[in-house]
């Protein structure tokens, strides 16, 4: 027994626990790929020399990014605020609807068809309507971001609350625990990995929602800038806006991964990737 336990300890310790050096080493391949793509782009522009309004090189985009300077903050802030508000409302409503639905079969039957219908309707199509209903400001943007981000939070949270080994619930029953206890000690922690999976998807969708809303009607924000740059054939500014949107989206995604690690130290971290078989 002792020898066996010792062998298992050794095996457990042999599991890869990346040190700081290894972590940096892991960043090298993706960075190289990124740099290679940028270099290829610059080289193509240098050789083919397309007009800058058609395809500017990364250098030109970077120059425009710097040049635009002090005008960025209010646009970035407008998009970021709309995204974050929409995302936050989606999380509150997603969880707020998931919990009662999971506990009430009647409510589940009554509400789910409507929710699925709303999900199937292309929500982007609501953007012009929201403009009419809520005006040109922040509210319509938040509404679109909320609407596209809501469903993944709802579905994932609901699944996480329900996907529990039946034997585990039997165990809880044999211990004569209350429904509140089962929620607190079993359902809630069980739902966390699903919930965070939903957050990841919702965060990227919320960014898209905010940008689309800005396309449709807005006078500030990165989405608005893209439309304006397009109209003025200022392609470098358009691409610079896209770069900032991506950077913001990545930052948000990273923040969720960080939160995920803090909330679930027991969970096998997947590095935020798409998973794989090897």
């Amino acid at each position: 027994m002792g020898a066996q336990a010792g062998a298992v300890t050794a095996a457990v310790q042999a599991l890869p626990a990346p040190g700081p050096g290894e972590r940096i080493a892991r960043l090298v391949p993706p960075l190289l790929v990124f740099l290679a793509v940028v270099a290829l782009w610059e080289a193509a522009v240098w050789i083919l020399r397309p007009p800058p309004f058609l395809l500017p090189g990364p250098g030109a985009v970077a120059r425009r990014l710097v040049e635009f300077g002090a005008q960025w903050p209010r646009h970035v802030w407008a998009t970021a605020a709309a995204t974050l508000w929409g995302f936050a409302v989606a999380v509150v409503f997603g969880v707020g609807v998931a919990v009662p639905i999971v506990y009430s079969p009647a409510l589940n039957r009554a509400v789910t068809p409507l929710l699925v219908t709303i999900q199937i309707v292309p929500k982007i199509a609501f953007a012009p309507l929201f403009l009419v209903w809520f005006g040109l400001g922040m509210t319509s943007k938040v509404m679109v971001a909320f609407l596209v981000a809501f469903f993944p939070v709802l579905v994932n949270t609901a699944i996480g609350l329900v996907q529990i080994e039946p034997d585990l619930l039997d165990l809880a029953r044999s211990l004569k625990t209350s429904r509140t206890w089962v929620f607190r000690k079993i359902r809630f922690p069980n739902s966390l990995p699903y919930f965070f999976g939903g957050l990841r998807v919702a965060s990227t969708l919320a960014v898209i929602g905010a940008i689309i809303a800005e396309f449709v009607g807005s006078d500030v924000g990165l989405g608005y800038l893209i439309v304006m740059a397009n109209n003025q054939l200022d392609t470098p500014l358009g691409l610079a806006s896209i770069a900032l949107i991506s950077a913001f989206g990545l930052l948000l995604y990273g923040a969720i991964l960080l939160l995920e690690r803090l909330a679930m130290p027991w969970h096998v971290p997947d590095g935020g990737g798409l998973g794989g078989v090897a």
Partner: protein, 260 residues
């Protein structure tokens, strides 16, 4: 209160399910007793309703006819003083090994410090000293079942109900766990009911083996196992052991053939 009759009294239990007009008989007239401190195995092919029977005894499933009494009291909900081990370890993956074992104490609102001491001691008993702060995913299947066994023992139950707890383990780990279980049972002397589809496992562990057949789940008989205790791995090679296994296998198979 002293009960008349056995500690666990399964008295003519029937279980039927209504399915679209037809009635499906899962269990038919099951009757046997388990004395205090006795180890009884229930063996039978899959579909004989042995897991259903265990759930009924644990008060997790209502019966259709008959009665189950534990210590003289009819079971109509989970009785006090049972520990259950399921086929899968059913550990909470977000809790460390120690916190998993402490779960029943928390559920009952027992003082944390004494619960903790009991859990640490039980982990020592099952040979998992030093693994208290690990997460379940870091342990092998056999070790996870040891954790589940510790958890079942935490509230010092009077009886231990086990539903094919080693069914998912490889043959070698399984034999090792059989020995471990006997060692722990001899130390703690809980009334034990053990469900398995392995005849050898049933014989090796038990004082008596309840033999069941499938569709509908019926009792074929009860075989007392007169192998001396404490039992070692060598028992499995003795002629008596082989004899018991053969006898039980014949009982199960002749009945199956008769139906076909």
């Amino acid at each position: 209160m002293t009960a008349i009759g056995p500690f666990i009294d399964v008295d003519g239990v029937h279980k039927t399910y209504a399915t679209r007009g037809a009635t499906l008989v899962a269990l038919e007239d099951i009757r046997f007793g388990v004395d205090e401190g006795e180890f009884v195995s229930i063996v039978g092919p899959s579909g004989c309703g042995k897991s259903t029977l265990l759930k009924i005894i644990a008060g997790l499933l209502p019966l259709s006819r008959g009665a189950v009494r534990v210590d003289g009291r009819a079971v109509d909900g989970p009785p006090d003083g049972i520990g259950i081990v399921f086929q899968s370890p059913t550990l909470l993956r977000w809790r460390t090994v120690l916190d998993n074992v402490m779960l029943p104490g928390e559920a009952r609102g027992l003082p944390r410090e004494s619960t903790r001491r009991a859990a640490v001691e039980l982990l020592k008993l099952v040979g998992l000293e030093g693994f208290e702060d690990r997460y379940p995913r870091e342990l092998s299947g056999g070790m996870q079942q040891r954790v589940a066994l510790s958890r079942a023992l935490l509230l010092d139950p009077r009886m231990l109900l086990m539903d094919e707890p080693f069914g998912a383990l490889d043959a070698m780990t399984r034999e090792e766990m059989n020995l471990e279980l006997l060692r722990i049972w001899e130390e703690r002397r809980k009334t034990a009911l053990f469900i398995t589809h392995s005849i050898a496992e049933a014989v090796f562990l038990a004082d008596r083996v309840v033999v069941m057949t499938a569709r509908p789940g019926r009792m074929r008989g009860i075989v007392p196992i007169a192998l001396p205790r404490p039992r070692t791995i060598a028992v499995r090679d003795s002629p008596q052991f082989t004899d018991y296994v053969r006898r039980i296998r014949e009982e199960i198979f002749t009945s199956t053939r008769a139906e076909v």
